[in-house]
Symmetry: C2
Subunit: 249 residues, 2 copies
C-alpha cells in the first residue's frame, strides 16, 4: 500500500535530512532518518514477513532511492539484526538488571520483572509476533543472536525463581519450568493486547505481576511480602476496586 | 525433501488401500489413509507454511497421484480446516467440559483445565505453532473458525475464573486478563517443550497447574466471603492498621 504513495511526510523529512550538509546537524538528522527507516522496515516486516519484504520495498516506503537508502543502512539484515537485538537482548538485559538489584527482595523482583515484560510485550506486540513468526526465515547469524537472547532471558528468569526457592520465599518449584510458565504469561500478551477501552495497560501489568508472584510464593509467607508498605497499599487498592464493583452491581 | 523419494511405506499402504475393493474393509482403510494424508499435510504445513505447501506436495508426500488424492480430500483447505478444528475448537470444548463439571470445585477445575491444556500443547506443539505462524495466511472462512475457537477458549476460561472470584475462592482479579495470562502460560508450552530428559511431561503439567491455581486463590487469611461489602471493608481496615504499624516503625 505504501508503494502507491511513496513520498509521505517522513519521506520528505528523510530527503531533506539527506540534502542538508551542515556538519553539526548531520548526526541528529541522520539518527532521525535511521529511526524513520527502522520504523518503516519493522512495519513492512510485520505486514509481509521478513522474507516477503525487499530492500526496494523499504526504500519505496521511506521515499528514498535504493542508492540513497544504502547511505543509511547496508542491508535489510542490518535492520532485522537491530530488531532482534531490541526484542530479545534488551529483554534479557532488563530482566538481569532487576535480578541483580540488592535493594528489593525476590518477591518484589518477580513483580517488577513481570510488570516490565508485560509492558514491553504490549508496546511492541507487532514486532514480537513478527519475530516469532519469522523464526524459521531468519538468516543464520541473526537466528543465533535470537536464540542466545531467548536463552539469556530464560536464564535470568530461572535464576530469580531459583533464588526464591533457595531462600524459602517460593514453593519448591522447578525453576526452569516455572520461568517458562511466567515467560509464556508475558509473551502471550503480544497476541491479545490491543490498546483499547477494555485494556488499561497499568492494571494489566499489575494484575499479571500479582498473579506471577502468587503463583510462586509460599502460602504462609504472605507476612513477608507485607513488610513493604507498597505491597499493603496494593492489597488495599485491590480491595477498594472490588468494593466499588460490589456496590455498582 | 519428501518429494525426492515419494513412495514411502505409508504411500504403499495408501495405494494398497485404494486398490482394495472389499466393502467391509473400505471404511477402516479409508480412515487410515485419510489419517496418513492428514499427518503428512500437517507436517508439510509446519515445515513450509500453509501458503508454501501445494496440493501436489501433499500428493507427492503420501505417494499418490493428484487425482488419487482427490479421492480422499477435496483441497488442502479441507485439511487445514480439520487442523484448525482440532487445535482451537477441541480445546474450547475440552475446557468447557471441565468448567461444567458439578463434582469438583472451581480450584480443581482450574487445575484440571491447565493440566489438560499444557499436555495438549506439548503433544501438538508443531501444529499449534504452525497455526499461530499462519494466522495471516488462513483462508477467510477458516480464519473465522479459528477466531471463533480462540474466543470460545477464552470465554470458557474467563468463565471459570469469574466463578471463582464470585464464590470468594479466588482473589478479585479481572477474569478476562487472568484467563489470558493462564492461556499464555499454557500456549507457550508449544514453543519450548521438547520430549527429552529435562522434560517430564507429567511433572510439567502438574507444576504449571499448581502455579495457575496459586496465582488465583485467596491466601488462607483472606478466604472469607467477599460477596459482602462489609467483609471487604474489614479487610481494608485491617490492612490500613498494618500499614500504620509499618510506617510507625
Amino acid at each position: 500500500m505504501s508503494t502507491s504513495k511513496p513520498r509521505t511526510a517522513p519521506a520528505k523529512k528523510a530527503a531533506a535530512a539527506k540534502a542538508t550538509k551542515s556538519p553539526k546537524a548531520t548526526g541528529v538528522r541522520r539518527g532521525l532518518v535511521e529511526q524513520e527507516i527502522y520504523d518503516h522496515a519493522t512495519r513492512l516486516f510485520a505486514e509481509r514477513g521478513f522474507a516477503g519484504t525487499s530492500f526496494q520495498d523499504i526504500a519505496d516506503a521511506v521515499g528514498l532511492t535504493r542508492p540513497a537508502l544504502y547511505h543509511y543502512v547496508s542491508s535489510k539484515d542490518e535492520l532485522l539484526a537491530r530488531l532482534v537485538a531490541e526484542i530479545t537482548q534488551d529483554s534479557a538485559a532488563g530482566i538481569q538488571a532487576i535480578a541483580d538489584r540488592a535493594d528489593i527482595d525476590v518477591t518484589r523482583k518477580v513483580h517488577e520483572i513481570v510488570a516490565m515484560s508485560v509492558r514491553r510485550q504490549a508496546e511492541s506486540a507487532a514486532r514480537f509476533q513478527l519475530l516469532i513468526r519469522s523464526e524459521a526465515d531468519l538468516p543464520e547469524d541473526i537466528a543465533a543472536t535470537h536464540t542466545a537472547g531467548r536463552r539469556a532471558v530464560l536464564k535470568a528468569m530461572a535464576g530469580v525463581v531459583e533464588e526464591g526457592v533457595k531462600s524459602g520465599a517460593f514453593r519448591p518449584v522447578e525453576p526452569r519450568v516455572a520461568a517458562l510458565g511466567l515467560l509464556g504469561m508475558n509473551n502471550w500478551v503480544a497476541w491479545w493486547y490491543q490498546p483499547d477501552d477494555r485494556n488499561d495497560l497499568d492494571r494489566i501489568c499489575e494484575q499479571l505481576a500479582d498473579m506471577a508472584v502468587a503463583s510462586l510464593v509460599q502460602p504462609d509467607d504472605r507476612a513477608v511480602s507485607r513488610a513493604d508498605p507498597r505491597d499493603v497499599l496494593r492489597l488495599v487498592r485491590r480491595d477498594l476496586e472490588h468494593l466499588e464493583e460490589l456496590l455498582d452491581n
